[in-house]
């Protein structure tokens, strides 16, 4: 095995300095990274654990403007039960956290780790395969291989899907993220965290080498905002979503004033869908939701084995919309 140096920084500036060393990876809960290291899919020279910085980078708090700050190291279990999230406007975030993995993992898994996790593609995640992802090979093996769990839209030369449960609701809520790099703090829209052209060669996210996500920020929500999260899977216990959808709607006098629909697990990045606009000024109805669901999958180009995901995905959009407006 390749020996690695394990760095336990005492403060953020130490972490910042350590993260910028060559061949270094950052570790939060370690759910994904440790697996990949054990399988020798990733063999970094240095691993910087952020867990000693829980005081700075953890926790959930209501900010002065009424928004909610999620520390990068806040666990999914905290998201499930924190009072700051106990509002209808943030229900989708709570539901997404609660449907992730298993209780044991949710006690350990972090918000940033969930957003930044590596794809679950079974070709990418095996040392036996050399595919286009990460430039390991010439082509995507899933396109001609077994692609039952792969992308149905938004892909180019790599059909992996983005596995994060938290990304769709956070995008639907127009969240922002803060990073630290070389002592500089930046705050950006969450959408910028994901590549706009998610090719196989490109990383799953847009962070610069050594850039540390420190927090997520959910902007204050109007009293009439509602979010929900729905996902399809093959079993109730620990399973990855085959399709996922987060929606945010703001209702005014029974009419939809604002609406966002974000799909997960169907494309290499979480996908906000312009179809949400069809709801503006409309009253919630099954027919309307069906129309939005159909439109959300406009342009879908399923692969040889995953056509079912389009059918299922539309149902999940409907379910998310019905729950958000119930």
């Amino acid at each position: 095995m390749q020996p690695f140096t394990y760095v336990l920084p005492e403060n953020l500036s130490q972490a910042d300095a350590a993260a910028r060393q060559p061949d270094t990876v950052l570790k939060g809960g370690g759910i994904d990274l440790v697996d990949r290291m054990k399988e020798r899919l990733q063999t970094p020279a240095r691993v910087v654990s952020l867990l000693p910085l829980r005081a700075e980078l953890g926790g959930i708090a209501v900010e002065a403007d009424g928004g909610v700050r999620l520390g990068a190291l806040a666990t999914l279990a905290e998201l499930e039960r924190h009072p700051a999230l106990a509002t209808p406007a943030l229900a989708g975030l709570r539901e997404a956290a609660a449907s992730t993995a298993s209780p044991q993992l949710r006690n350990r898994a972090t918000v940033a780790g969930n957003l930044l996790q590596f794809t679950r593609c079974w070709y990418v995640r095996s040392e036996a395969f050399r595919c286009v992802h990460g430039g390991r090979g010439p082509t995507c093996l899933a396109v001609t291989g077994d692609n039952r769990y792969h992308a149905v839209m938004g892909y180019s030369d790599c059909v992996r899907v983005h596995p994060s449960n938290l990304a769709p609701p956070l995008l639907a809520l127009d969240a922002e993220y803060t990073t630290v790099l070389e002592g500089k703090t930046r705050r950006r829209k969450l959408a910028e965290l994901f590549p706009s052209d998610p090719r196989g060669q490109a990383p799953e996210h847009t962070l610069a080498a050594g850039e540390i996500v420190t927090a997520l920020h959910v902007p204050p929500q109007p009293a009439s905002a509602r979010t929900s999260y729905a996902e399809s899977r093959e079993k109730q216990s620990f399973d990855w979503a085959t399709t996922a959808c987060a929606v945010r709607v703001v209702l005014d006098g029974g009419v939809i004033e604002a609406a966002t629909v974000v799909l997960g697990a169907v494309a290499p990045v979480p996908l906000p869908r312009p179809a949400a606009r069809l709801m503006l000024g409309q009253k919630p109805s099954a027919a309307l939701f069906q129309k939005v669901a159909d439109a959300a999958f406009t342009g879908a180009l399923p692969l040889s084995q995953n056509g079912y995901k389009v059918t299922v995905g539309k149902a999940i959009v409907r379910e998310a919309l019905e729950r958000a407006t119930r």
């Binding site: 095995m1 020798r40 679950r120 079974w122 070709y123 095996s126 036996a128 395969f129 093996l141 001609t144 291989g145 077994d146 039952r148 399809s232 899977r233 093959e234 079993k235 109730q236 216990s237 620990f238 399973d239 990855w240 085959t242 084995q305 056509g307 079912y308 059918t311 299922v312 149902a315 999940i316 409907r318 379910e319």
Partner: protein, 754 residues
């Protein structure tokens, strides 16, 4: 208790069973001939105090607390770790193997070749070489340093794409005509209702929680092995034979399998991993542990073969089956010897007694690792096809599926079970409840039968069990056979306690050490029915010796002495058990009981009967199926340890649901490699998916031995997948004929209906 065995020609006993619920008793007198010296038979009128009671698993706490040491837990001073280099190609030849670089690496103690240059490589994962070293990291580095070159040949890992595979149409139906069968086709022509369809199941891997593997230690000429196995004596013989060249004789091999974390049919041999472990320990002159990892477990250590079966059949106007034609195919990996690749598909025969029938089976090869026997080999696959076929036939004929079974099931015991089960499950009401046409969630109920045949056997030479009674009042019973999690230790303890009239807590049971009397491999549900009479005999002999001491002490006749309620003595003079045992000398009472052959004549029932009912809910939006509740009614001969027997049934239902809804090996055609060789992508039922489970055990006295248990490991595994699949058919009004019933298949079925 019945009278002690008299002359060889004659003990009259009561066999049969008491009716469940309002069902009738079916008891009858029968003369049996116990072997001379055997314990007298327990029959339907024998009052039993411990046997059949709700006792906990005797080693439950040890297992839950980690005190129980499995093979993977064994640690020895100086223990080395080991792993195997696996072929990355599915078919070809090994043309070069360079081990020296690995040998020279730091921390590496031994490297052995497991395949000679020039040998064929048969699947991705075929074992090439093995390495032992100080820790697994260094061992893996050394594996990476081994140079193995292959001559690669084109492969095919899809057994239904081979040249002998039947042609399938776009709907998955076999598109080739049936071979001629005049009588059968004559019957079909007369049928009021006919039906024909093709059914398919995927490869299920055993993947026991404890992986395959061993720890081996040589001491001079002697070899001591801890093996996760279903057959301690089989492993012992296999290793002695394989290592004969090193001067090893069977008696010098000790095999331990005191605790085994599951086997399901995949652990009968030492395996290449066990042999590699012994070779490495020999070469390294140090103890070595070699356990497979989860990927190896999925890809090299056993699987239930895939199946394809086509049925056609017909009912007469009264709903009786008059024609029944089955052809089946098994996909069982590279080692297919035509007709004996282990892929056979079994179908029920009790519905078709009055029908013209035909059966044909063919095993088909593929460049994948070989199938192994798995919990009721061939049965869950075949029962799924046959029972769903029957439901489709019943549907066409407008007959309720339960009614179809009642009209055709030739087994009286299952007739009783169907009626009792239907009542308890609320079949009629659940079956009649309609689903609203536009309902998102549709419910359905289904049912399926189970059958197995296992009344145990004597073994050749006979199996034995040792029983010792010590001066301190403690009792030990010992079998060299293994308890693979099914509860043999508890079975041994309860039967000995019953025979000795004492609290089971006084009995310690030991299993899985080849220094103890030999017993069967745990396959085919043999262990409990084979060893129950043997431990009974051992305790019976020990009791007679204790009676001798007590008789002398009391000045009574030994024949008047009995053991009950923790006392020993005559009707008038009794000693507490502890006092009686103080009469034993410094040597314990130490006897070996044996398993006598089953009594002559026909048992009350040679079949182990069962049936199961399931209710499912299907999300028509997402195609996801959830099982809401299940009921199993299951005969298992004499129930020895009720809680453990129920646990067998519940476990089989869960495994069956998992097979019906989730489990499948997914192969990458291009590389020949399994894509989901882990528990994240190889999906198994999880805790949140567990439905309400109900289990009713039936004690059936078959009158075949002194202690008439029947095998229970397999029977309940036969019905479960079929019960789920028939319930899905009821919910959707459209069958899903290909397991597992994943959302894509449900949605396709819904699309067909629409």
């Amino acid at each position: 208790m019945t009278a002690p065995a008299g002359p060889r020609d004659g003990v009259e006993i009561t066999v049969g069973y008491r009716g469940l619920g309002g069902m009738p008793d079916r008891l009858e007198a029968r003369a049996v001939e116990p072997a001379e010296g055997d314990a007298p038979p327990w029959d339907a009128n024998t009052p039993l105090r411990q046997v059949g009671g709700d006792h906990d698993r005797v080693d439950g706490l040890a297992k839950a607390s980690g005190r129980a040491k499995y093979t993977s837990d064994v640690n020895l001073p100086g223990l080395l770790q080991a792993a195997i280099l696996r072929a990355p190609i599915a078919r070809g030849k090994l043309v070069q193997l360079e081990l020296d670089a690995a040998r020279a690496m730091p921390g590496i103690a031994a490297v052995v070749a497991l395949k000679n240059v020039g040998s064929r490589v048969r699947f991705v994962g075929d074992a090439i070489a093995a390495v032992a070293g100080a820790d697994l990291h260094r061992v893996r580095d050394a594996l990476a340093a081994i140079r193995a070159d292959y001559e690669v040949e084109p492969h095919n890992v899809d057994w239904l794409r081979g040249e002998d595979a039947p042609l399938l149409d776009a709907d998955g139906e076999i598109a080739e005509p049936w071979p001629e069968a005049v009588a059968l086709e004559g019957a079909l022509a007369l049928a009021a209702t006919t039906h024909g369809a093709t059914y398919r199941t995927e490869v299920q891997t055993h993947s026991s929680l404890e992986p395959h593997g061993a720890t081996a230690r040589w001491q001079g000429e002697d070899l001591e092995v801890w093996s996760s196995t279903q057959a301690t004596f089989g492993v012992r013989g296999e290793l002695a034979q394989a290592l004969k060249g090193r001067g090893l004789r069977v008696g010098a091999v000790t095999v331990h399998a005191e605790y085994v974390g599951g086997g399901f049919g995949s652990k009968f041999g030492a395996g290449v991993e066990g042999l590699a472990c012994c070779l490495l320990a020999h070469a390294a002159k140090a103890p070595v542990k070699l356990m497979l990892d989860r990927f190896e477990e999925h890809t090299t250590a056993g699987n239930r073969p895939a199946a394809l079966l086509q049925l056609r059949g017909g009912l007469d106007a009264e709903g009786r089956l008059i024609a029944w034609d089955v052809r089946s195919y098994g996909g069982c990996g590279f080692n297919v010897e035509r007709g004996d690749g282990g892929g056979n598909v079994a179908v029920p025969d009790y519905y078709t007694r009055a029908a013209k029938t035909r059966r044909k089976h063919t095993d088909l090869p593929a460049d994948t690792d070989p199938a192994r026997a798995m919990r009721a080999p061939g049965h869950p696959q075949g029962w799924f096809g046959a029972e769903l076929f029957l439901d489709e036939l019943a549907h066409k004929a407008g007959i309720d599926p339960l009614e179809l079974r009642l009209r055709n099931d030739s087994q009286t015991m299952r007739q009783d079970q169907w009626r009792f089960g239907a009542e308890r499950f609320g079949w009629a009401a659940a079956r009649a409840r309609p689903n609203a046409p536009d309902a998102r969630f549709r419910r359905g109920v289904g049912l399926a039968s189970a059958r197995w045949s296992q009344l145990g056997s004597a073994g050749r030479p006979p199996h034995g069990v040792q029983c010792r009674i010590h001066r301190d009042g403690s009792v030990e019973v010992r079998s060299g056979a293994q308890d693979i999690g099914t509860g043999l230790k508890t079975v041994l303890a309860l039967i000995a306690a019953e025979e000795l009239g004492i609290d089971p807590k006084l009995v310690q049971a030991f299993t899985g050490h080849t220094g103890d009397p030999s017993g069967p491999g745990s396959g085919g549900s043999t262990t409990t029915p084979s060893l129950s009479p043997a431990v009974r005999h051992a305790a019976f002999l020990a009791r007679q010796q204790l009676a001798g001491f007590v008789a002398t002490h009391l000045g009574a006749d030994a024949a008047e002495i009995d053991c009950r309620d923790g006392t020993v003595g005559t009707r008038t003079q009794r000693l507490a058990w502890a006092e009686a045992c103080k009469l034993i000398g410094p040597n314990p009472i130490d006897v070996r009981g044996q398993r006598f052959p089953n009594y002559g004549g026909k048992p009350f029932s040679a079949s182990v009967c069962g049936c199961q009912f399931a209710e499912v809910e299907v999300d028509t939006w997402t195609g996801q199926v959830r099982v809401l509740r299940m009921l199993a009614v299951q005969d298992c001969g004499l129930v020895i340890a009720k809680k453990l027997a129920e646990s067998q049934v519940l476990g089989a239902m869960l495994q069956g649901i998992s097979f019906a809804l989730h489990e499948q090996r997914i192969m990458d055609r291009q590389s020949g490699r399994m894509l989901n060789g882990d528990f994240l992508r190889y999906k198994i039922l999880g805790s949140a998916d567990v439905p309400e489970l109900d289990c009713v055990l039936m004690t059936v006295h078959n009158g075949h031995s002194s202690t008439p248990a029947a095998g229970l490991g397999e029977p309940p595994a036969v019905a479960a997948p079929a019960a789920v699949a028939t319930a899905v058919f009821h919910a959707l009004g459209e069958p899903v004929r290909h397991l597992p019933i994943t959302p894509d298949k449900v949605l396709a079925a819904l699309a067909r209906r629409a």
